[in-house]
């Protein structure tokens, strides 16, 4: 028995943290996939894209949604991020361990942590660019895509990876579905969203050249 551990144990903090991790992860994946579907409306027509943006503006959905998602993302960053080993020696242990084990789900977790950090930086820049260029219209997005397509390409891949594997891991941890099929389903959805995202990017870059 260690005094400091015994006295600090046995409250419900660890449970609440795990539940917030679960809820914030689910909310963010739900948001990201919805967001990508919204962006992909450009594939239908410019009018649909602009119409959707105006609709979200008119009913203040953007003004509620964006701050809400930022708060959820901050909670997620702190709470899911507590799993990232902070001491250099621990990081070295995990890294060597992953290399030794050559085990898929261990490697995907290492990349979960790395892509999470990348999203923190990239998504902040993205939100800043969009909010300072408000409102969102086909030509504003086309301009951003044309100048920074490489930035959006990285954010798209990193974000989809993190969301897809993150969702898979939540299902694995809570065991609501068998492991193999859920891995397959999350991979298929991720692939579909990636293709939609790439197609939308392609259309925007073309538009940017035309405007």
């Amino acid at each position: 028995m260690l005094l400091q551990r015994t006295l600090s144990k046995s409250n419900k903090t660890d449970l609440y943290l795990d539940l917030v991790e679960l809820a914030s992860g689910l909310l963010l994946v739900g948001f990201l996939w919805t967001h990508m579907l919204f962006v992909a409306t450009i594939l239908i027509s410019q009018e649909t894209f602009n119409g959707l943006s105006e609709f979200l503006d008119k009913y203040y959905l953007s003004y509620i949604g964006i701050p809400f998602i930022i708060v959820v993302a901050l909670f997620h960053f702190v709470i899911a991020g507590r799993r990232i080993p902070t001491r250099i020696q621990e990081q070295r242990i995990v890294w060597r361990h992953a290399k030794m084990l050559r085990h898929t789900d261990t490697w995907t977790w290492v990349f979960q942590a790395i892509t999470g950090m990348a999203i923190l930086v990239l998504a902040s820049i993205h939100v800043w660019m969009v909010v300072t260029g408000w409102p969102i219209r086909d030509f504003t997005s086309a301009q951003r895509m044309e100048s920074f397509w490489w930035f959006y390409l990285i954010l798209l891949i990193v974000g989809e990876y993190h969301a897809g594997f993150g969702l898979y891991r939540q299902f694995v941890k809570w065991g609501w579905f068998p492991r193999k099929p859920i891995g397959y389903i999350t991979k298929v959805i991720t692939a579909i969203i990636l293709v939609l995202g790439l197609a939308a990017m392609f259309v925007f870059v073309q538009l940017g050249g035309a405007l």
Binding site: L7, K9, D14, P85, L101, H103
Partner: protein, 251 residues
């Protein structure tokens, strides 16, 4: 196949002789039919190097003492056929457990500590009557308990778990599986709150990050993912209504 020459690279270190730094020693050996790592190691010790340390008892995947890292993965030496491996074979002792020397580690102390911490015995207020007929248990429950009981305490799930590698207090899949076993047992009279005290924290159910190295490396193929998820869900539902007692203030 049978005339391959195998090259073993084996981790050597004796904590009793700290002046000799850890190193890898190479041995060569002719492969024979049906050779396991256990057979190969015995042959090396008999014919080439009597100082090589490693453990085994049953040589039949029952005692759990021969687990080691074989080409990067925690495996039982007595259950791993050399023909399933390339001609170069790297052997390391299991991480996390106390190193006795070379490939030999002390899993016993870890598992004893885990058993004490999870109080891995049936908690009952009934006094045992040796003359009475044994209480009946329905077959389904008995089989579920048996599934968890098949653990041979080899430590592969602990060594493979990145979380256990960096968090000393983490009970790991073997520990959480042990708790699941008693939660299923109708003879155990522990209350939900008492179970929550044992595994309702990051030392138990909530410490697991779902890496599944345990599930993928258990030589007895225990359904560890489902056991971990079962305990996690149980702990979440118990925990929501759980009222912890008031703590003592240090200042």
């Amino acid at each position: 196949m049978a005339d391959r020459e195998l090259t073993f690279e084996i981790f050597r270190y004796n904590p009793q002789k700290p002046e000799v730094k850890p190193y890898l020693q190479t041995y060569k050996l002719k492969e024979t039919t049906g050779m396991t790592i256990f057979v190969a190691l015995n042959q090396i010790r008999e014919e080439q190097d009597p100082s090589l340390m490693f453990d085994f008892v049953c040589r039949a995947a029952i005692c759990g003492s021969c687990a080691m890292v074989i080409n990067g993965r925690p495996r039982l030496a007595c259950k791993t056929l050399t023909k399933t491996l390339p001609a170069r074979i790297k052997l390391f002792p299991l991480p996390v457990f106390k190193l006795i020397g070379d490939l030999s580690v002390d899993t016993g102390t870890w598992f004893r500590h885990m058993s004490l911490k999870t109080e891995a015995w049936v908690h009952t207020s009934k006094t045992f009557d040796p003359k009475a007929q044994e209480e009946r248990m329905d077959n389904e429950t008995a089989l579920k308990i048996y599934e968890a009981e098949r653990c041979i305490e080899c430590g592969c799930c602990i060594a493979g778990c990145a979380t256990a590698n960096i968090r000393d207090e983490f009970l790991g899949a073997a520990g959480i599986n042990r708790v699941a076993r008693f939660m299923l047992d109708p003879r155990d009279e522990r209350t939900p709150a008492e179970y929550f005290e044992v595994v309702g924290s990051e030392e138990g159910a909530f410490g697991c990050m779902g890496l599944m190295a345990c599930d993928d490396n258990c030589p007895m193929e225990l359904p560890l993912q489902m056991q971990l998820a079962f305990v996690r869900r149980k702990m979440a539902s118990i925990g929501i209504g759980y009222k912890p007692g008031k703590g003592i203030k240090l200042a």
